[in-house]
Symmetry: C2
Subunit: 673 residues, 2 copies
């Protein structure tokens, strides 16, 4: 007789393998398929990201069409079509209906897709909720016809099942189209395909994206440039942050015959000299076979790799957005809401974590029509992909919440949490491998290295914000005073003169005595001939002034712009223009004019005015020249500053700015103050 099974035997009988597809089918929330609304977004996102990655890898300017249509009560049909290179027939089933299959997991460079899960997960979800196959059409350039396949994902085996197959003529040279019917819900607004594609268009200005909504509305995000971003290159792993186990795999897997060659050719940042240093420190012979380095030897080798100073990771495996596009993107996302202030976008140098290079970019805008009594808006991007869900779980949000924004002029209860105020913070993390918190790729996991870079980048932007806010406060006060004086004084003077029967006196010297500022005023005026910006500069100080005037115009407004008088210099790419003004005696004034073609979209807040040659305390309507303007200043000002420095022993008021005013004031100290 067989004895009854023991408890351990009973439990053992239940043990079994779980197919990765079964696992994700049951845990589809992990992949971003929590509910009908999010499932739609995830589907669109995975398909569109694949299209963009495919186009960029093939050097093609992307055209992506997203069509969403109603297909029953709670069902939608989603079709995403691109002009990418197409996919070979033999790869189509695996690419679209097999989890953990892809081309980008093993490549060490920035891409949207990394996991080989996304689009197959969408197919799995469609199969599950509507029992309908995915329809794929794909054509490669070298073939006449397109392949048309209908696919299911067999979850028990995690393998594609081809339900039907055909070929067809397609009116494009190459491209791919995927069509899915899934349980889904279409909404516009927050966390919608619309928001996602708009965000994508902002940071991918080389892509043309068309969205057709279920009601037939067609939204086109036109490309803003025909320049493809420089392709992100594959790189070798960098030793910083490499784990012992990973080093072990590399040592076992390499084809290099010697340890020296392995170190200097299979790893990034290790020069031949550094490789020798590493070997010396780890007491290993250069000629040893890599695979033979194990145990204690391996640990010493890793310690040496972490101790020896190596070259920084190369940035060419990354594709940052760049300061210019961040600013343009922010203008774009804000649309009608014209903020008062754009902090100069911060784009930090690449760093390494766990062998993978990464970099952080930050943009901050403030004021204008942004709501003042709500938490600041946060725009998160990872590898040029907008992150719309799980904001609360994201390292970006955490870095923002951990900063004490009260020090930078925003409200924040208790000095932590998301600050409140009319501000918007854009953060982009680019990496050859983003550590997402889950396969849905909606939030970046906590990581000390990334957190440090995020914090540093946010601090730089926040300092700019603080400077702006304190300047604004001072300027508002001075402006209010100025306005009162300019309004009331003339009336007072008129009345008094009338009473005493004397002519009205010139008030400029009085205003000068009270205000002691150089005042700049520039307001765009649109007329059929174009947009004119008359600029008035008045010296309400008791001394003669030699000033340099600088303006930063949105670079897209530069073509066709005219300046009167002719500027001393321009930098059209950055939208910068500058002049040396004629010497202005006390109460002296001068006028300039900027002219732009008709339909130029320009408001006062789009123009940033800077003046050199005077201390910012004496400046109204413009700011001192920031340190990052690398323009050659005219001799007059440089010489005056040098002379003053030589005379006074070289004191300056700012770290980055030459104290122009000091030069002047030393020559006329008796008049000053």
């Amino acid at each position: 007789m067989v004895p009854p099974p023991t408890i351990a035997q009973q439990l053992a009988a239940k043990q079994r393998e779980i197919s990765v597809a079964e696992f994700f089918e049951r845990n589809r929330q992990i992949l971003g398929f929590d509910n009908p609304q999010r499932s739609l977004l995830t589907t669109v996102k995975e398909a569109a990201d694949n299209s963009l990655d495919g186009c960029e890898e093939a050097g093609i300017l992307p055209e992506v069409l997203v069509q969403i249509s109603k297909e029953g009560e709670d069902r939608l049909r989603v079709a995403v079509e691109d002009n990418g290179p197409g996919i070979l027939r033999r790869e189509i089933p695996n690419v679209f209906a097999r989890l953990l299959y892809g081309s980008r997991f093993h490549s060490n460079r920035q891409a949207r897709g990394q996991q080989g899960i996304g689009i197959s997960a969408a197919v799995l979800y469609a199969n599950l909720t509507t029992a309908r196959p995915a329809k794929i059409v794909s054509k490669v350039e070298e073939e006449e016809a397109a392949h048309v396949l209908e696919l299911f994902l067999d979850t028990q085996k995690n393998q594609p099942r081809v339900a039907s197959e055909d070929v067809m003529l397609w009116d494009r040279p190459h491209g791919t189209r995927i069509e899915l019917v899934l349980r889904a819900r279409y909404v516009r607004g927050r966390q919608s395909p619309y928001e996602y594609l708009r965000g994508t268009a902002i940071v991918n200005p080389h892509a043309r994206i068309v969205l057709v909504e279920p009601d037939g509305t067609r939204v086109t995000f036109e490309r803003a440039t025909t320049d493809l971003p420089p392709p992100a290159k594959e790189t070798l792993p960098h030793p910083y942050g490499l784990e012992l186990g990973e080093l072990g795999y590399f040592l076992k897997g390499t084809k290099r015959p010697t340890l020296l060659e392995f170190l200097s050719k299979d790893l990034q940042g290790v020069s031949a000299r550094a490789a020798r240093d590493v070997l010396a420190q780890s007491e290993l012979p250069p000629g040893r076979t890599p695979a033979s380095v194990q145990g204690e030897d391996q640990e010493r080798l890793l310690r040496a790799l972490h101790a020896v100073s190596l070259l920084s990771p190369s940035a060419d495996c990354l594709s940052p957005i760049g300061a210019l596009l961040i600013k343009r993107g922010l203008r774009n996302v804000l649309g009608e809401v014209r903020p008062d202030f754009f902090a100069p976008p911060v784009s930090r140098a690449p760093k390494v974590r766990g062998g993978f290079p990464f970099m952080v970019e930050v943009g901050v805008v403030y004021g204008g029509g942004l709501p003042a009594d709500q938490p600041v808006q946060i725009l998160r991007f990872a590898n040029r992909v907008p992150l719309l869900f799980q904001q609360g779980a994201c390292a970006i949000t955490n870095a923002i919440s951990s900063l004490d924004w009260r020090r930078y002029g925003l409200e924040q209860k208790g000095g932590s949490g998301i600050p409140s105020g009319p501000a918007l913070i854009l953060v982009h993390v680019a990496s050859t491998k983003i550590p997402f918190t889950s396969e849905a790729k909606e939030a970046i996991a906590e990581d000390p290295e990334i957190d440090r870079e995020l914090t540093l980048a946010l601090q730089v932007a926040a300092r700019h914000l603080r400077t702006h806010l304190s300047r604004r406060t001072r300027r508002d006060l001075a402006g209010a005073k100025f306005e009162i004086i300019l309004k009331i004084l003339p009336k007072l003077a008129e009345k008094t003169s009338h009473l005493v029967g004397k002519p009205v006196p010139d008030l400029t010297p009085v205003v000068t005595r009270i205000m002691d500022v150089v005042h700049l005023e520039a307001t765009p005026v649109a007329d059929p001939q174009g947009v004119r910006v008359p600029v008035h500069v008045v010296n309400y100080t008791p001394r003669a002034r030699v000033l340099e005037l600088f303006v930063e115009v949105p670079p897209e407004a530069m073509p066709g712009a005219a300046f009167d008088p002719a500027p001393d210099g321009t930098d059209p790419a950055l939208g910068r223009v500058w002049w040396t003004l004629p010497k202005l005696p006390p109460s002296g004034r001068t006028q300039l004019e900027l002219r732009f073609p008709p339909q130029t979209d320009l408001e006062a807040s789009d123009l940033d005015w800077y003046v050199a040659g005077i201390d910012e305390a004496h400046l109204l309507g413009a700011d001192p020249l920031p340190g990052d303007w690398d323009v050659r200043l005219p001799r007059t000002i440089v010489e005056a500053a040098e002379a003053a420095a030589a005379e006074s022993g070289g004191t300056g008021t700012g770290e980055e700015e030459v104290d122009y005013d000091a030069a002047e004031s030393s020559a006329s100290a008796s008049e000053d103050d």
Copy 2:
């Protein structure tokens, strides 16, 4: 000559399969191995959860030992040992060193582990960071010796590799021990193994857990009960929320010969009658073979299953904490911090999402030593496991943040977000399948069904809080008034009497006229004989009162407690005791006493006093009897209430409470007010 590969061919050449272990190795943050601190917690958590699951499955009272010791600069050795049933030799390698292998994924009942990933992920992480094998010791009862295996996880194949094997004698009848050396960092405090095990002990009072910290400190969480929670039973899938694809698998996989049998025997909640209704609605013959139901037929069948009214899911696949243990657990977690108020814990009936039953439990405490100017503390649990990370991404947090707590008496900026105040909110979600946001199982994904239940449960608890807070405000005001009167009146009377040379009058009638309350005072006094609680009740109302007095004592304080006079009734399990007090004339007073054995841990806030027979406006130091006290009231009061109701036409002040005062006041209306 071979032509150069086209772009599509180049891209295709890069396509390949990704091993699930490789995937998780590279994305270990998804599994909870973000950084050395969290990696330690995740390791302890996965091992301890497995121990608890194993013990409970085998009906063993769990004893879990967690030893953490230093093993080099940034390395720790973690050993977790249990008295569970042990694991058969042949299963050991797969259980500990193969991802997606386990016994609980396919079972439909509440368990801590669900995925077959956790402990193998810890082994993977240890291999990766220190290149050391995991050491497993396991003994099953029916064998003499324990098996000792050293294991690696081969990530390219996702298969275990046995590095060494042995047998040994072990001084336990059965059990399992796992030892890992990993890159990790030990901290106490927030998000530490200590916090995790303490939280586990709170909601698993049947487990004995010992933690040995790296400095040798030994912390023991003793078990509070020797009753194992009722074992969660395996159940069938419930049709509510079932997707078409899932129904398809079930139809294909079932062994039932007919559709009728399939419906009534393979699904939960479908009676034979409901099955016939479903078949009628979907126009399918009862005798049809399940596997033959496809396409349109399948869709009609699913629609009918969702339309026909079915039995609710059975709760016996779930293992809720229960109201009593929630309250005890909260007392435990608060330790020295004695809150003023415990809202009656809310334990909602099970519901279904996507075929899986789930239920929500909520406990709220307020006041005492909890910090008043900070966000409320949130304790999250899923299947009796504390959730320590990713609070911001969790559906529990989101449900709390979405409620307008200002309406319930807590501060909350803008009516959303985590409220502030001296409160603590405990939430437990139990389910046969918790939808976690990632494999690290630290946050519950958004789900409309779960969110609804969370919101309803939180609202019930919040309403109790509001009642308490408004009562407290009223009572504080009345109490302050009372104190002033009792302090100042006698002094005034004394002084006046002295001045006019008359004897000091009895002030009780004056106090009565001003206060018009029944006053209860009860303060525990500890002495070597035990803890005494003298109770004074004074009738400062102008009418005679027949009152019922009720007290709720922590049930653990009931053994050995004595009451004088003898109560009219007790419920030791719930810690409830009640008396009918002698009729108190105006200014009448009475005294009772509660006595507890020495060392009883009891403070005034541990005793909840309730009085029936008087309206709460006339009650100071006690609350009206809550509606959930299902005690038989003495005839005197019931009759008085009935008489009053008959007379006045049956008006009451509360929904749940008999208006005792109305009974009385109708008899002495002229005196009242």
